[in-house]
């Protein structure tokens, strides 16, 4: 029973002008694809939002040719300060069309409007703003005396933060003087296509940004194209491995931002109320569709019971449902396929002996939804402690000493992120030194900023995106 009854507060979708069908964006124009089309579905209602062109190898070929032409004839010849102006324009256009982008993102992805409005879209604009500033300052980046662009970047992005991941990829690539061929995720192509329109409004020279929608084969064609000088991928470790093999023996520069199974460490001296908020944000933000999600909660034994009790109380107030409702905390799971994966792993958790708990919550009848879930009594051998679930499912483990916490936190093939909750500064830094993870959040979680590098250790991938370090991925230094 909740204390407050909420009236629905839906964001209007009238701000979005959906077309019935979308083409590929090649050489500055929308063109038909060669392999038919596919449907993009609203995961909260299962309604078809639009037909989207399916790009095949010949389309990728056209896109790469356009990108190469734009690179040779226009983009690589522009002085940095002139490139910067186009990127600043894009940043401004994203800010101007923020509401439209946010609603479209929530429709296509299923994430709560509160998140697309307050996190995804503003961060995407900030990313373009930040990298626009670098375009004429590359010699100051301390990466080498004469940094040069690589050429054509082939970029494949996931469905969890469609526009934001586009920004992470496109902004530094353009700032460094490269042109791009981008393949958005199959289930979330729509904001990328709206971004294509923004490129037109910014008068970005044709061919500098090309967007080829499609599925896995389309992505593989981008990665494998001989005219691509740089491959950037964000997605699963499984596909990352395939890409690393596909580019082996070529001259392509590669960055991979892959899966994670982050440990979120809570010590007995932590401010527990704050920690519980951080745990909730760490695992339930974006339905847990976050590669750096704090999916393994490691609590010091002496406070484990209290933390879990408080966590359960807090979870009872989470509102699951319509992504466009401004009160919604947890929206729709992005696809039926992902929902099935979350269900399978959750069932494995129960079968292997962990205790499953979800707050009482009514899920909508249509659409793909999954209640926020925690497992207690989880051992390190359980699948739910080892495999990335990529859903709103938290595994709770305990530890006694800092050394044991480090041991357990690092006992994973992944190494993307970690969280530490303690009042003691020296302990934060001691733990941060020992975490085999690319990002360590202390007394906070899931913080992102364009100035801050992001990326993983071990099988969470290689290379960094964001910040000064993120430039190197797109430069010959």
């Amino acid at each position: 029973m909740s204390i407050f009854e909420y009236a629905p507060a839906p964001e209007s979708r009238s701000v979005v002008d959906l077309k019935p069908a979308y083409g590929l964006f090649i050489d500055g124009a929308f063109v038909d694809g060669s392999a038919g089309s596919f449907k993009s579905v609203n995961p909260a209602t299962e309604e078809v939002l639009a037909e989207v062109a399916m790009g095949d190898a010949s389309d990728v070929d056209r896109a790469v040719a356009a990108a190469r032409r734009a690179y040779d004839e226009v983009w690589s010849r522009l002085p940095g300060r002139e490139r910067a102006k186009y990127i600043f324009r894009i940043a401004r256009l994203i800010q101007e069309r923020a509401r439209e982008l946010a609603v479209l993102e929530s429709l296509d992805n299923g994430k709560p409007i509160r998140e697309s409005r307050d996190v995804d879209v503003p961060l995407a604009a900030a990313h373009f703003f930040y990298y626009a500033g670098w375009a004429d300052k590359l010699p100051y980046a301390n990466l080498g005396p004469d940094p040069k662009p690589l050429g054509v970047a082939g970029q494949v992005i996931p469905w969890n933060f469609p526009l934001l991941m586009l920004a992470w990829k496109v902004a530094p690539a353009l700032a460094c003087g490269n042109t791009v061929v981008l393949k958005p995720a199959e289930t979330t192509p729509l904001t990328a296509l709206l971004f294509a329109e923004i490129c037109q409004q910014a008068d970005l020279p044709p061919g500098v940004v090309n967007i080829v929608t499609g599925a896995g084969a389309t992505g593989a064609a981008v990665v494998g194209h001989p005219g691509v000088d740089k491959v950037a991928f964000t997605g699963s470790t499984e596909v990352g491995r395939l890409i690393a093999k596909q580019v082996a023996g070529t001259a392509k520069k590669v960055t991979l931002e892959l899966g994670g199974k982050a440990a979120n460490l809570v010590f007995d001296d932590a401010p527990l109320e704050q920690a519980v908020e951080g745990i909730v944000d760490g695992i339930f933000f974006n339905q847990g569709h976050v590669c750096c999600a704090g999916s393994r909660l490691l609590v010091q034994e002496s406070v484990a019971e209290e933390v879990v009790d408080r966590l359960r109380e807090r979870m009872k107030t989470l509102r699951v449902g319509d992504p466009l409702d401004k009160n919604t905390d947890i929206g729709a799971i992005n696809s039926a396929e992902q929902l099935a994966k979350i269900q399978t792993l959750s069932e494995a958790g129960e079968a292997e002996g962990a205790t499953r708990w979800s707050p009482p919550c009514e899920l909508p009848e249509r659409g793909f939804f999954f209640a926020p879930t925690i497992f207690t009594g989880v051992s390190q051998a359980h699948r739910i402690a080892r495999e990335e679930i990529f859903g709103p499912v938290l595994s709770v483990l305990t530890f006694r000493t800092p050394a044991e916490a480090v041991e357990k936190a690092n006992n994973t093939a992944y190494g993307l992120s970690a969280g530490v909750w303690t009042d003691k500064g020296s302990r934060i830094l001691w733990l941060a030194q020992r975490m085999r993870a690319g990002v360590v959040w202390a007394n906070t979680f899931n913080r992102f900023d364009p100035t801050s590098p992001f990326g993983g250790y071990k099988e969470s991938g290689y290379g960094r995106e964001g910040g000064r370090h993120g430039l190197e991925a797109y430069l010959d230094v």
Partner: protein, 297 residues
């Protein structure tokens, strides 16, 4: 009923702008009530500008001091957005500035336009620096011991800037933007004919979400105002750009500035305002703060 005689409409007279100072986000006249005529190089009268006094300079320093902590506390992202906004506002007034510069500097319109373009691009250049300074100038230091040690730039405080007489807009931009991007507040002296574009630039700033007091502009005589600013104990740094290199005035000002150890940027003879400025005018107005913290269980 009498019929009105048909008369030709009287020619319309233009409404001329009064040029005032820019202090604390407002446009006051000089408290001294003085003004000076600004003339074209040909000697033709253009307008009167307010002639700032010692009291105006002190008011400006107080406004800058009051505004500085808030400006420094704003996120670097926010400061960058505001500097970029200034560029946007300038671009919109490109022709206005070009005509004004052509008039006061006696330039061909093309040359004046080129100067405005360079000034706009310079604002964009500095806008991009706001959130990168600490990444380029800061460091994580590998001290020998179990300590976390990190150095980052911080603004020095209030900076007094003596802008060059020419190029007017580019000169002003080139001294103001690098000082404020890192979080300082400034008092800029725009000498003589530079006063007119300076006040118009103030109008741009007043409509660009720049908090009042971050930039204060005094028009008038550098020789009159500079000694008060150089000896002012609540001013942290001094840019002597508009003073003749090697002159007695330059030396005297530096001596006065030494009293509270102001950071001083000396004038350089034949300085090229069009050349890439790098970080040469940013770094002098930044302090480096180093923080230590132990590492241990």
């Amino acid at each position: 009923m009498s019929k009105k005689p048909a008369v030709a409409p009287a020619p319309r007279s233009s409404v001329r702008k009064t040029y005032k100072l820019y202090i604390g986000g407002a446009f006051p006249r000089s408290e001294s009530g003085r003004s000076y005529p600004v003339t074209a190089p040909s000697g033709e009268f253009i307008a009167n500008a307010a002639q700032a006094s010692r009291k105006d300079a002190r008011d400006a320093v107080r406004a800058a001091r009051a505004a500085q902590p808030g400006w420094a506390k704003a996120t670097a992202y926010n400061r960058g957005q505001i500097l970029y906004r200034i560029a946007e506002m300038l671009e919109e007034r490109r022709d206005q500035f070009a005509h004004q510069i052509a008039e006061v500097e006696g330039l061909e319109l093309d040359a004046a336009h080129a100067q405005v373009d360079a000034a706009i691009d310079r604002w964009v250049w500095y806008a991009g620096w706001s959130d990168k300074l600490s990444q380029v100038l800061g460091a994580a230091n590998s001290v020998a011991g179990p300590y976390w040690n990190i150095s980052s730039p911080e603004p020095t405080g209030v900076v007094a800037l003596l802008a060059p007489a020419t190029p007017t807009l580019l000169g002003l931009t080139s001294v103001i933007a690098p000082a404020i991007v890192g979080g300082n507040a400034v008092v800029a002296v725009a000498p003589d004919a530079c006063g007119l574009p300076a006040v118009t630039l103030g109008e741009v700033m007043a409509t660009s979400d720049l908090p009042g007091g971050v930039v204060n502009i005094l028009t008038g005589s550098t020789a009159e105002l500079a000694p008060w600013l150089a000896s002012h104990l609540d001013v942290n740094a001094l840019d002597l750009a508009g003073v003749e290199a090697g002159s007695e005035l330059a030396r005297d000002l530096e001596v006065a500035a030494a009293e509270n150890l102001k950071r001083v940027v000396r004038p350089s003879a034949g300085y090229d305002w069009e050349a890439d400025p790098g970080l040469s005018r940013v770094k002098p107005f930044l302090e480096t703060k180093t923080v230590w913290h132990p590492i241990g269980i």
